[in-house]
């Protein structure tokens, strides 16, 4: 929360309000920094008066250490986004509850 850049990327596709794709390169943690950039895709589809949001994050190397944190982080982020959009309040999820190996 101190303004440190944790991840960077380039926009690959931006088709508002349907599709957003970008590269994702982690910068913060030494042991994860060597892994190559991965790819994030958000797809938004109307479903009646709802929206189906599908997130795909792909391109991890075999045995990726980043994948553990990514797999545990996204469900918390997307869950909080849903709460925020539906109720006006995000979720407060303690980082320790995510059980991410790279976060000590």
């Amino acid at each position: 929360m101190d303004g440190t850049t944790t991840d960077v990327g380039d926009i690959l596709e931006a088709d508002r309000p349907r599709r957003l794709a970008y590269t994702f390169k982690h910068l913060l943690r030494e042991e994860l920094r060597a892994e190559p950039a991965t790819r994030v895709v958000f797809v938004l589809e109307p479903h009646g008066d709802l929206v189906k949001l599908t997130l795909t994050h792909e391109g991890f190397v075999e045995g990726s250490k980043l994948l553990d944190g990514i797999s545990k982080g996204w469900p918390a982020i997307l869950s909080s986004l849903k709460s925020l959009l539906e109720s006006g309040e995000p979720l407060v999820i303690p980082p320790a509850a995510l059980d991410i190996e790279a976060i000590d």
């Binding site: 479903h47 008066d49 869950s79 849903k82 709460s83 539906e86 999820i93 303690p94 509850a97 995510l98």
Partner: protein, 180 residues
Amino acid sequence: MKIYRTVRVDMNIDQFKPTLVYAIYIKTTPEKAWHALTTGEVSAKYFFGNSVEVDERVGGAYVLRTPDGELHISGEVIECERPRKLTVTFNVNWPALIEKLGPTLVSYEIEPAGDAVKLTLTESHDRPLSDDILSGGRQGWPAIMSSLKSLLETGEPLVIAMAPPQRMLDSLRALGIAAP
């Protein structure tokens, strides 16, 4: 009332491989999440109208009924640790389905996470199945879990109109399974 029979399938849980894992954080308590997963009047609101009945003990029956009372899913409780873990066999009651596809295992895991809970749904099978067959769960479970979260957080479920994926129905029919 329909008479149903729970078929006990000889199975080794370790043979089952996850085909879908869906984790969602919900602002609720583990007890309320458990209640929602195991109570018919609640499940009818978020599970496409289906009412759940669970005999909460290992070997007990697990059943889902459609709004008109028809048996939709029949299974058996494999693990039951209120309010942390419920594992059941989850077999769609379509003729020949279990003979052709084998049993389905569904597990709900509830973990506290601050003032929320992390609910993890896992669907597993004991043999490889095609993406066409698995498309039903991949389409349905996110809708069910999303509606459950809305219900527990706002008091209102989502209204999601959804038919089974055509590719799944076609694939089931090709296997000789009489999908409705």
